[in-house]
């Protein structure tokens, strides 16, 4: 089979910086902004003598992306020189919140104001009265705890999505059950020869479970690696309530009802165990609690699961047998698992599937990082001292959540914000939570921000979130304007680290690492005074002093072959004490989790219905006849980002709701017609409802609808109360607050119920308006 991969070859072997046709070309890896996960795709940045960005191309030297590049990086120039981009620090008076009364200031003045407000809060109410809220993916995302603990000196950082319904429930589950962070599918990322490396094995089967890696590149996984492997012969299985394009290339597609993954997982385990298709040797030597697991999953018959999941029982059996017998097999399990109140148990099932089939830490299976290879966890935490540490919100109520990620339980944070007089200073770093992204009930968050005395925001854009509540704006630089380091899976996976190279400057933006360093030097010298400059700090924080920045800049991409190893449970590389086994209390993969038990959770997987569902709330189904799932990834947007980039907006101008043709006919909805959507918790502007544009398609089954997330309209009035029309199509206003799992994790973002009703109004985006407003770039 011929692979048309590594298409460009013209610039193979070029150094990190070179000249071409009078332009300077700088090779580097992209992270953010624009928002993305730390995939670190290879880019070539062409700048002219005036230091202006002329164009961006994919770098064929990159061992994983080979010159390929997605639309979000292909439009970096439009992002960098966008007329709406905020290029300088700004301030405004508190009474001017929501108004365009910003005034340009210097970085020094901005920092002085922030330092004064933080010190005042510490003195009057204690450091825990400072709250840092952050978003996902962008470089600032994983820096959230460090911003709070190390730089501002507060224990209270918060990812605002009810139940921390993004990645961390997965990581918590794997930490407790497996003793390691999320085990990524192995796509030979650390090998120079990649798929041709002889010690690596092509997976016989790839499973996407609640994930579209090709569009999401979740957590730094280059999703199209799966296509590379399929073209070499890997089979695909998709477990997804929607028919994604990938599902049509899969041999098995289990189109389950949203939110029923744990039932399916238990039934698959049941089949594999009862038919003795599991890896007996691995189970005997390296797992704990197999008998109890077998007994528990025995309570979930295939027929019962089929009923719950709305699947054919034979399809479940066939999928379970295929997964157990095709070796190696790898599962990419996604956000959908996090977005349910018992997602932890679904995750537990998936881990158990991986473990009992012997797919953990083997070539072509699931990768685990070397225990000595983690980075930056807990930076600044110890120096807070026990008194402040005890004031992180939720430490007593939800220790399995708060103590693990060192972040305040977010649902409790909203309650405290609403009560008022608790948080007095707030930092909004890299999050646009009001725009239907990482918060349930964003209206409530919006209103609660009024109770905070002083807020400051860090972003590239004047987002509706920052516009609504901040007094100071700190401008971020983009991925081509600062020096930093990107690493796949936030450093936890033995794949690669890459240099994010500064190529130009626009205005006075700074990167997240530099802003955190600046704030830390001013507010928490106990953590920052030891660094001689920003680069010294960067080498500590991002590279663990394993390399200098100059070294990785020369290399551009550092494949982490030195930390790659398989079956590390035999070699002692999974435990700090160097003993063989897994980093769990029993030293084994805990199919029966002693940690869950310790936290008061059931030690074995179980299934519960979504809070609202045809089975759990049948009395509501007449009024809300649809199962609502939300937030599937698109190529053009990273959550709320990209709406103001004309080429990206053109790909998906309006927020869509997918509805099956049978349902559309029944409810009188035409393809392209706008509809009102509501739920039992609707707090949108149309009597609780919001409006979306119908896409009539067999992508979803009858009875299920899927709504897009993350919409705001940068072409609209930015001032309150319009606020870029952020409420018009805000799907998260339909999602309930604080209906989470027992350990504080997981909320039903992807398994609600809703009504859908056609309307006569038309809210179609005028692309000419977008082009006129945003197509003319501002190049100084």
């Amino acid at each position: 089979m011929v692979l048309f991969k590594g298409q460009g070859t013209a610039d193979l072997g070029k150094p990190w910086r070179y000249e071409e046709d009078g332009l300077t070309v700088t090779r580097g890896c992209a992270w953010s902004p624009p928002g993305c996960h730390p995939t670190g795709c290879g880019i070539k940045v062409y700048t002219n003598k005036e230091g202006q960005l002329v164009k961006i191309e994919g770098d064929e030297n990159h061992p994983i992306t080979n010159g390929r590049l997605c639309v979000r990086c292909l439009t970096i120039r439009d992002y960098v020189y966008h007329p709406d981009r905020i290029r300088y620090p700004m301030k405004r008076a508190r009474e001017d919140r929501g108004k365009n009364r910003w005034e340009r200031i210097t970085w020094d003045e901005a920092y002085d104001i922030i330092v004064e407000k933080c010190n005042e809060a510490k003195e009057k109410w204690g450091a825990d009265s400072i709250l840092v809220i952050g978003g996902t993916g962008r470089e600032g995302g994983p820096m959230l705890p460090a911003y709070a603990h190390s730089a501002l000196g507060t224990p209270n950082d918060c990812y605002t999505q009810s139940g921390y319904s993004c990645y961390i429930p997965r990581v918590a589950g794997t930490t407790y059950v497996l003793g390691a962070t999320y085990p990524e599918m192995d796509y030979a990322g650390a090998y120079e020869l990649r798929y041709d490396e002889p010690t690596w094995q092509l997976p016989a089967l790839i499973v996407y479970w609640g994930k579209i890696p090709t569009a999401s590149n979740g957590d730094g996984l280059f999703g199209h690696a799966a296509i590379d492997m399929m073209r070499r012969g890997s089979k695909l299985m998709c477990i997804d309530p929607r028919v994604t394009w990938s599902c049509t290339r899969a041999d098995w597609h289990l189109q389950l009802r949203p939110g029923t993954d744990a039932a399916l997982g238990m039934a698959m385990l049941n089949v594999i165990i009862s038919e003795e298709l599991y890896d007996k040797d691995f189970v005997d030597r390296w797992t704990y609690g197999f008998e109890q697991l077998a007994e528990r999953v025995g309570t979930m018959s295939v027929e019962q699961a089929a009923e719950i999941c709305d699947l054919d029982p034979d399809d479940i059996r066939e999928a379970a047998r295929a997964y157990a017998t095709l070796k190696p097999a790898q599962i990419a399990w996604g956000l959908a698992i996090d977005q349910k109140r018992n997602g932890m148990q679904a995750g537990h099932c998936i881990l158990a599937l991986e473990a009992i089939t012997g797919n953990i830490d083997v070539p072509g299976g699931q990768l685990i990082g070397d225990v000595n290879d983690g980075l930056e966890l807990g930076f600044g935490w110890n120096n807070l001292g026990p008194e402040l540490q005890s004031k992180i919100v939720g430490i007593r109520e939800y220790p399995a959540y708060v103590a693990l990620v060192l972040a305040a339980q977010c649902d409790m944070v909203l309650d405290l914000l609403e009560e008022g007089d608790y948080f007095h200073v707030m930092m909004i770093e890299d999050t646009n939570l009001l725009a239907g992204t990482c918060a349930a009930q964003p209206h409530r968050w919006h209103d609660a921000f009024a109770n905070v005395d002083f807020c400051f925001g860090v972003d590239v854009w004047l987002t509706p979130t920052i516009q609504s509540c901040c007094e100071v704006f700190l401008p971020l630089s983009t991925t081509v304007e600062h020096d930093t380091v990107v690493y796949s899976h936030y450093g936890a996976s033995p794949i690669m680290a890459g240099a994010v190279n500064k190529c130009l400057e626009v205005g006075e933006g700074k990167g997240d690492c530099e802003i955190m360093y600046d704030l830390g030097c001013r507010l928490m010298p106990i953590n920052y005074a030891r660094f001689k400059d920003y680069y010294d700090f960067l080498e500590f924080y991002r590279l663990g002093y394993s390399q200098t920045f100059e070294e990785i800049r020369d290399e551009v991409v550092h494949q982490k072959i030195e930390t790659l190893g398989y079956k590390k449970y035999e070699t002692g590389h999974l435990r700090m004490d160097g003993k063989p086994g897994f980093n769990t209390p029993t030293g084994r993969i805990e199919l029966y989790s002693t940690m869950f038990q310790q936290f008061g959770e059931d030690p074995l997987p179980y299934y519960i219905e979504p809070n609202y569902s045809p089975l759990n709330t049948p009395e509501l189904m007449e009024q809300y006849p649809f199962v609502l799932t939300t937030g599937a990834r698109t190529y053009c947007y990273f959550h709320s980002e990209g709406k103001q980039i004309p080429y990206l907006r053109e790909m998906n101008p309006d927020p869509l709701i997918e509805i099956n043709p049978e349902d559309a006919l029944k409810y009188g909805i035409a393809d392209g017609q706008w509809v009102k959507v509501n739920s039992p918790h609707g707090s949108g502007p149309f009597d609780g409802a919001i409006v979306l544009k119908a896409k009539v398609s067999q992508i979803v089954k009858p009875g299920v609808v899927h709504a897009q997330h993350g919409f705001w309209f940068p072409e609209k009035d930015s001032e309150e109360p319009v606020l870029y029309d952020v409420w018009r199509s805000n799907i998260n206003d339909l999602i309930p607050h604080f209906m989470v799992g027992k350990l504080g994790f997981g909320a039903d973002f992807k398994c609600m119920i809703c009504s859908v009703e056609p309307i006569n109004e038309n809210y179609d985006t005028d692309m000419q308006e977008i082009w006129d407003r945003f197509g003319k770039l501002v190049i100084e």
């Binding site: 089979m1 011929v2 692979l3 048309f4 991969k5 590594g6 298409q7 460009g8 013209a10 046709d21 164009k55 961006i56 191309e57 994919g58 064929e60 080979n66 010159g67 390929r68 590049l69 997605c70 639309v71 292909l74 439009t75 120039r77 090709t214 569009a215 199209h224 296509i227 590379d228 399929m230 073209r231 028919v243 394009w245 990938s246 599902c247 049509t248 290339r249 190529y635 053009c636 004309p646 080429y647 990206l648 053109e650 790909m651 398609s697 067999q698 992508i699 692309m767 000419q768 977008i770 082009w771 197509g775």
Partner: protein, 115 residues
Amino acid sequence: MRNGLLIDYEFCSGCQSCEIACKQEHGFGVGKWGIRVLDEGPWEIDEKTMNWNKIPTPTSLCDLCADRQAKGKLPTCVHHCLAGVMRFGPIDELIVEMDKKPNQVLFVPGPYTCK
């Protein structure tokens, strides 16, 4: 020998990098494309099978990136294709590749002969 674009649409994921790379290269505004991904599906063939093909299709504006070719570079759509399903070259070479597997399409863009 004419040059063409050979596209393996069995594995085109529909990422639209070809569209945007082309717009950037040629400075096309919104509403103009040099290549477009035709979205043929999904529709049900039978209860277990869906038809869905994404097929990058050059438009009348496609010049196969003549400027880039002059510098020894590939057309930008081919270079950036995330799934790596596009190949550029003389059609006699592409036809050999085309014979190796089904679900491929060969485009030979150029000025219309009727005008």
